[in-house]
Amino acid sequence: MIAPPQEEGLLGSLATTLELFLDSFLATLVLATVLAFLGVHVVLRRVVFVGVALAEMASLGIAAAFFAERFAITAPGRPLAFARDHWVMGALMNLVGLAFLLRAERRYLSRESRIAICFTAAGALAVLLVAGSAHGMDEIQVLMTGDPLFVSHQDLNVLFAVMTPAVLLLVVFFRRFLLVAFDPELALTLGVRVRAWEALFYLLLGTAIAMSIHLAGMLFAIGFLVLPAAGALSIARRPWSIFGIAAAIGLGSATAGFLVSHERDWPLGPTTVAVAVLAFLVPQVWRRVSAAVRR
């Protein structure tokens, strides 16, 4: 929650809040925009539940990091120190999840079954891993709703270091990612290495989800993966514009969510997601009303 300082005007208090929480604000913007851009691929490829399962796997990774804090062998400077790093563990578990989810379908184990197995196993294990700790329930809540308000400057630096190349790849190879997603058979006839491009896409997706869960929680990650993309698809009709509008909805929702959270003293993560829900609903309502008026 962002409590507005007393005895200042709204703008003054906002400026103070921004000064105090600039890192959080920037991290929220970056995550929301990148997730919204990736989300268009996720929605169009009909792999939303793969995204949800990956989010759960990232949560398991973070729960494992909480769990690892109990052991001296993971102390800073020790060989397994990385096991305490939330986003590294989240990314690692995402790789495990991807290896399981993207295997070729077998007669007895469909993609849907794998997603369900991945989701439930990761969810149950995550709860069990943190259940024994003194702050178990708090940690579960952090995983679920998160709070991007407490992003540190170091977190922000890591976020920029990871997301900048990811965004560059997505933009520079925009047409290639689109071709591979829309018609992989055509891509193969053109000599494109479809499996390698698919692996790269899911690697970027898994990394973005792991970082989002670590910094902002599962609600934020899933919300911004789906809502801006679904909103953009309902109003745009050309590839670049769909991705651009989705990114703009993500950016706008995160900014507006930050302002509302500041003004109403609401938790930042759920507030930004609620604004994204509104951003999704407004064009739907507008379309229906304008269609009714035209009739």
Partner: protein, 254 residues
């Protein structure tokens, strides 16, 4: 005739299961080479192997004496239902999608290639539908968009997988006429999988008929005979020629 490609002791299938083995034949340049056979005989798998979608289980596809990596540009037209209509693309964008695949670092399409996409749509008679949503087009129009997408690549080989399977007879005939005229005008080689034996008899120059590990291949007049079709499908079939027209019908109705 100069062959565009040669299949050399080719085995095709999925996983470790071969659906057709020991295939050895050439596809002459500029021909209408049709592949026929009962369901499950491996027609589509063979086509997908030739165009590079499926890897061969054994043997190889050789292109004009060059190594397999130096294959020519291929325009591939899938069965219509393989394209997901959730993508809100306009007809023009579907055609543009396959262009510039070799320009890895260009997020947008150069103007010359964009113009080529528009002109391909005009060639298939959809110049007036460039801005229409792909999912809003009729089945015949969608299939023509996919043909335009293949043509925009300026291919040497046009490979089509049952392009008329979901079309009404009128739309199917118009599409096949269009492909035949493109083959003649642009000197394309056409490789087409089909269940429409009468259409094959009328339009193919060469036929590969396959079933249950056996196959015959050659010029259409020699390959598409009543005896061979009867053996191929396990049901009496007759090739009927009358007033310069040809049709393939069940023998009881001939």
């Amino acid at each position: 005739m100069d062959p565009l490609l040669r299949c050399e002791d080719l085995s095709v299938g999925y996983g470790r299961r071969a659906v057709a083995s020991g295939l050895a034949f050439s596809v002459p340049r500029g021909t209408a080479f049709h592949i026929v056979g009962p369901n499950g005989c491996g027609k589509t798998t063979l086509l997908k192997t030739i165009v590079g979608i499926v890897s061969p289980l054994a043997g190889r596809v050789a292109w004009s004496g060059a190594p397999a990596s130096a294959r020519p540009t291929i325009g591939y037209v899938p069965q219509r239902d393989s394209i997901d209509s959730i993508y809100p693309f306009r007809a023009l964008e579907v055609v543009r999608l396959g262009l510039g695949a070799d320009r890895l670092f260009r997020p947008t399409l150069p103007r010359a290639l964009a113009d080529r996409a528009r002109s391909a749509l005009e060639r298939v008679g959809l110049g007036h539908r460039v801005g229409a949503g792909y999912s809003e087009l009729s089945g015949g129009e969608r299939q023509r968009v996919l043909v335009a997408r293949a043509l925009a690549l300026e291919p040497e080989l046009l490979a089509l997988d049952e392009p008329t399977s979901e079309l009404d007879p009128g739309s199917a005939e118009r599409l096949l006429d269009l492909i035949e005229s493109l083959r003649r005008d642009a000197k394309l080689t056409v490789l087409l999988v089909s269940h429409d034996l009468s259409g094959v008899a009328r339009r193919a120059t060469h036929v590969l008929a396959m079933n249950d590990g056996r196959y015959v291949v050659g010029p259409v007049g020699e390959t598409l005979t009543s005896e061979r079709l009867t053996a191929l499908y396990g049901y009496p079939m007759a090739v009927v020629r009358e007033n310069g027209r040809v049709a393939v019908v069940p023998a009881g109705e001939a």
